[in-house]
């Protein structure tokens, strides 16, 4: 159970990084990546995955 960021549509804006309650997001070569081992899809933490809710690009963050 994890989400992933589609690098080709990521704008590198960094909005998702500080929102992640599991500190699973980091920058890699100008865009951002999610560590699947840390990602919980915010289950039990928030109503919706925080990275998806704040991301400005529709469809950029999907289920891995």
């Amino acid at each position: 159970m994890a989400l992933k960021i589609i690098a080709s549509t990521c704008t590198g804006c960094s909005a998702c990084e500080p929102e992640c309650p599991n500190v699973a997001i980091r920058e890699k070569g100008g865009t951002f990546v999610i560590d699947p081992k840390k990602c919980t899809e915010c289950e039990g933490q928030f109503d919706a995955p925080q990275c998806v809710a704040v991301c400005p690009v529709d469809g950029c963050i999907k289920k891995a």
Partner: protein, 533 residues
């Protein structure tokens, strides 16, 4: 300091403005004042008068070297933006996040993102190279306060290393109430809030969603929360004496009339300056508005809304809608000289005394110019009333490279300043960007129609010089090319030309006709920077 009246404001206006100001200030809890709050004869705009006459001394001190807050200052002092804040917490229909935010930086131009450390280094490099650089802003490309750590790390370092530089930031206001303490901690004394509506019904057409308290809100609810946070943030800043500028994007058919109400509401809450900007909207920007065909306003549509707001918060008319990484005087961009690799190679010596000495010299020059302008005007016109409508006003376009004078060749202009001229005053009402007519010494035939479009609502264009070819074409388009006021002060030149125009109308030599509308140039400013010469 003695206070000569500026060309824009009558003494009566000033007095009325002052009284209204003290009345408003008395209503507000512990504000730092703010001439934006002056009601009544709101023509005494600090945004465009540029003089110390119409505001309290402590406010004048805050704005006099700030090119975004003082129309006159923007010819003398430079600002820079550092792009340390890429993240945003809302989505606007005029913004495409694949490019920069078109709110403060035009879309389609990719900027170099900076870390706070890189930003500080860049600021010190620019400040050493351009001593008139007095203002540092964080304007995106996202929202300054949606990136609080990056924004305030930058501000903290700068307040230590370059204490003479004024700090400012711009925000959509959503996170503002939570950050007011931090803003005050680093002496950030200018904050710009983009407010496009005070009615969530209208807001829902502009903002598809916001991210707030760990949730994405959409529709009416999103706009309602944003509106409440904007108003609360503005009130808090006013209470702490921070000067606020309100930016509003004019979106025809969505918020055009409504901006008059926005103006009233922000004025009531102590906003210092209101800047109404045209929507920039082209399909290739990939914004929602660009893709749905929502157009930007024409020059006259923009002016009509600005004019309707004249009695409210002071209007800013000289905004150039610059990018989130612009460097230099308003309307010019020297950011190419200060890319990261170039800064690496620079030997940076931040000499605060040298900067102060330079700025003092600029200040002297500027006061001398101001006085010369006032003298020239006082001596100039006492025109007898003619057999012509005394309330007649026309617009004139002016080619200038600064110093308040008509001193630019038509072919070298990348923008024209627009003045509204009546019998008794010439009022700066805006500017129009154009593509350069002269390139490599030859006139570009195909550029002329676009220049005519940009100033088509003007009766005349005042220039220092103009070639025979554009002269004929302008005349054919009904715009009179005027070069006999070369190197005169703009107001004096405009009033002088208008006096002659009225005489010609009175004598029957010409007939007075209303002019049509003009087109606001879309897209990024691409011409070479004239002011650098």
């Amino acid at each position: 300091m003695s206070s000569p009246a500026t060309a824009f404001v009558s003494i009566g206006d000033l007095r009325k403005g002052r009284q209204a100001l003290s009345a408003v200030v008395a209503d507000l809890p512990d504000t730092g004042g703010g001439c934006g709050s002056s009601g009544g004869a709101g023509k005494s705009s600090c945004g465009s008068s540029g003089g110390p006459d119409d505001m309290p001394a402590e406010i004048w001190d805050k704005v006099k070297n700030h090119p975004c807050y003082s129309e006159e200052a923007h010819h003398h002092f430079a600002r820079m933006h550092v792009a340390v804040a890429p993240a945003c917490n809302i989505q606007c229909n005029y913004c495409n996040r694949k490019y920069d935010c078109s709110n403060e930086s035009r879309p389609g131009v990719v900027s170099q993102k900076l870390t706070p450390e890189q930003a500080v280094k860049k600021v010190l490099a620019v400040a050493s190279e351009i001593p008139q650089m007095t203002v540092l802003g964080i304007a995106g490309p996202g929202d300054a306060l949606a990136n609080p750590k990056k924004t305030f790390d930058t501000m903290r370092a700068l307040s230590e290393k370059a204490p003479d530089i004024k700090l400012c930031l711009s925000t959509n206001g959503l996170a503002l109430p939570d950050q007011v303490d931090e803003i005050c901690k680093y002496n950030i004394d200018h904050v710009t809030i983009t407010i496009n509506m005070v009615d969530p019904e209208i807001g829902a057409k502009i903002y598809p969603w916001i991210f707030y308290n760990h949730r994405r809100y959409t529709g009416y609810e999103a706009a309602r929360i944003l509106h409440q946070r904007q108003m609360l943030g503005l009130e808090m800043l006013t209470a702490r004496g921070v000067l606020t500028k309100i930016n509003s994007v004019l979106i025809p058919g969505v918020n055009d009339e409504h901006l008059i109400e926005v103006n009233r509401e922000v004025k009531k809450r102590g906003a210092f300056l209101h800047n109404i900007m045209p929507l920039i909207s082209e399909a290739e920007h990939g914004t929602v508005f660009g893709l749905t065909g929502q157009r930007g306003p024409t020059a006259q549509e923009l002016k009509a809304v600005q004019d309707a707001c004249m009695g409210g918060a002071n209007l800013m008319r000289h905004c150039r809608q610059c990018r989130a990484d612009a460097v230099g005087l308003l309307g010019e961009d020297r950011s190419e000289e200060f890319t990261l690799d170039k800064i690496e190679a620079m030997d940076i010596v931040y000499d605060i005394d040298k900067r102060r000495a330079y700025q003092a010299k600029v200040e002297q020059e500027r006061e001398a110019q101001h006085q010369a302008k006032v003298d020239a005007l006082a001596a100039a016109f006492d025109q007898q009333l003619l057999n012509v409508d005394p309330d007649m006003t026309v617009l004139v376009a002016v080619a200038t490279e600064g110093h308040g004078k008509v001193n630019l060749h038509f072919g070298h202009a990348t923008e024209f300043q627009i003045f509204e001229v009546s019998q008794s005053q010439a009022l700066f009402v805006g500017h129009r960007r154009v593509d350069l007519y002269c390139q490599g010494g030859y006139g570009e035939e195909e550029q002329l129609p676009s220049i005519v479009n940009a100033i088509n609502d003007c009766h005349a264009v005042l220039v220092s010089k103009i070639g025979a070819c554009p002269r004929d074409e302008l005349t054919a388009a009904g715009i009179e090319p005027v070069d006999e006021y070369a190197h005169e002060f703009i107001e004096k030149a405009a009033l002088g030309w208008f006096a002659g125009y009225r005489e010609r109308v009175a004598s029957g030599a010409i007939e007075h006709h209303e002019r049509g509308d003009a087109r606001i140039r879309q897209g990024a400013f691409s011409g070479p920077t004239v002011a650098a010469a």
